[in-house]
Amino acid sequence: MGEPVVEVHQLCKRYGERTVVDHVDLEIAEGEIVGLLGSNGAGKTTTVECISGLRRPDAGSVRVLGLDPQVDGSTLRTLVGSQLQDSALPDRLRVAEAIELFRDPRIQGSRAAVDGLLVAFGLAEHRRRAFSALSGGQRQRLFLVLALLNRPRLVILDELTQGLDPAARRDVWDAIRSLRDGGTTVLLVTHYMDEAEALCDRVAVMHGGRVLDVGTPARLVDRHAPWATVRFDMTAGGVPIDCLRAVEGVSYVRQAGAQVEVRGDRQMIAHLCCALVRGGEVPADLSVVMPDLEEAVIALLAGSDERALEPTGGAR
């Protein structure tokens, strides 16, 4: 893992009496794609705004490429590319004018790189089109082009693929992967779990202003959704349901007609298959469904809410 590009330590941000970011720690290494997930109001955007230098932290520290965004904003300008949620360009600004406005002419070969970006994102033929005349997908692609214009070392993307059709989302995913391949670090804020699972090396799950857990998508799934579901059709007179319930690791069994659904921990899969074969039942349609990141995050958030509702030791 490379040097840290982003170091957030005990970050706190309050709006009046409301604490929206509560002692957040986050470290992003060079070349990583890190996803920030969580429900609305979890504090993701505020965290990103502090990292971008748009908001001043009330406590804690933020370092980006070793610099303080509040102090070294002008230095970081060309090193960080941002695409922020709920931001726009002036309606009458044309694509080419936006690029000229945000491009740093000091960067060698940037004009050629811009042409390449416009072609890659399907905007080359829209250079003279005003921002207001672009479709939602074209706007998002323009934001991505603007974020990448100056060959930044860190790219911050907040809800980048919101409102894009599936094909456009896949195009943007490919672009983000190629960024990582080029060594760019990416901080991705998203509501789409499939997006985080497909793109992110690590994911931080936020809730109520705090980071609940950080890890690779697979590790988060293992930690917070350690179950599996097995489905198959049972022949008449096959293994009795009570026998399946008794299999080690099974937490519940449900039968609807011939279809049987068994859920339990991961070892349950092997024990269940053994029990079925021993009982003379070898279903041809047996399928195993493993939980995905979405289930893990939902479980993590639900667990967090339950913990929040539990009485404290002193109250007992």
């Binding site: 230098g53 748009l54 300008r77 060309t78 941002s82 922020l84 360009l89 009458r92 000229e100 406005l101």
Partner: protein
């Protein structure tokens, strides 16, 4: 190229594409000055400090341009940008927070000067250009008035929650200022109550700071000082109030 130069160049392009700007800053003052300056004859000069009414209005209407930019164009523009997240985008791209306000100030003053020249060209073709008694003080009045009112516009734009509110408040401030502060009847034709109201309007002082030295009716220095105070107060206000 510095952030400010880039922003100014872009913003100048954009405001000239805005129908509201073209209508309110360029067309409105020209149409109204052509109408009102021709509405009075030389016999009415006694109500105009014994100046030919057309000359009185030509010298007064630069203040209308200044008010249109400061009370309508700038607040609507700034509040709209903040409402739609344009300011956030500029800030996220590394433009210093103050750079947009500074660019708007330059754009507002530039636009005022350009629109004033256009107004004078049209008005002089129709009514002739009154000779300027004190050119330096007159130009100082125009420039300081333009800076002060653009600054007032930035304050309004910073305080208003969205473009619609900025437009409502801006128009509410503009029309009484326009009618009582320079574009409407002369002070001698007003009731004493309206004259008192006019005297507290910042635009009245801008108008006087331009008209008095232009037509040789006075130095206008007292009014210039008031305009300077408006600039200081409003600049202090928007520096504190401006947000993303």
């Amino acid at each position: 190229m510095s952030a400010i130069v880039k922003l100014v160049r872009t913003e100048l392009r954009l405001v000239l594409r805005e129908p509201l700007v073209l209508a309110f800053v360029f067309a409105f003052p020209i149409i109204t000055v052509l109408v009102i300056a021709g509405s009075f004859g030389a016999d009415d000069a006694h109500s105009f400090a014994n100046v030919d009414p057309s000359q009185w209005y030509v010298a007064s209407y630069l203040a209308v341009v200044i008010a249109a930019v400061g009370l309508v164009m700038v607040p609507v523009h700034l509040a709209g940008y903040r409402e739609r997240g344009v300011l956030r985008r500029f800030a996220a791209a590394g433009f210093p927070r103050w750079s947009f306000a500074a660019a708007e100030l330059i754009v507002g003053v530039t636009l005022t000067l350009v629109a004033s020249v256009v107004l004078l060209l049209v008005a002089s073709a129709a009514y002739g250009l009154p000779p300027i008694d004190s050119p330096v003080t007159t130009v100082a009045g125009v420039v300081l008035g333009a800076v002060a009112f653009t600054s007032v516009g930035l304050l309004l734009g910073a305080l208003m929650p969205n473009a619609r509110a900025a437009q409502g408040v801006g128009l509410l401030a503009f029309f009484p200022s326009f009618l009582l502060g320079g574009g409407g009847p002369p002070p001698d034709a007003m009731s004493s109550t309206l004259r008192h109201v006019a005297n507290v309007l910042p635009l009245t002082h801008v108008t006087r700071a331009i008209r008095q030295p232009w037509l040789g009716l006075g130095s206008g220095m007292g009014d210039l000082a008031v305009v300077g105070a408006v600039l200081v107060v409003s600049a202090f206000g928007w520096r504190r109030a401006i947000r993303l």
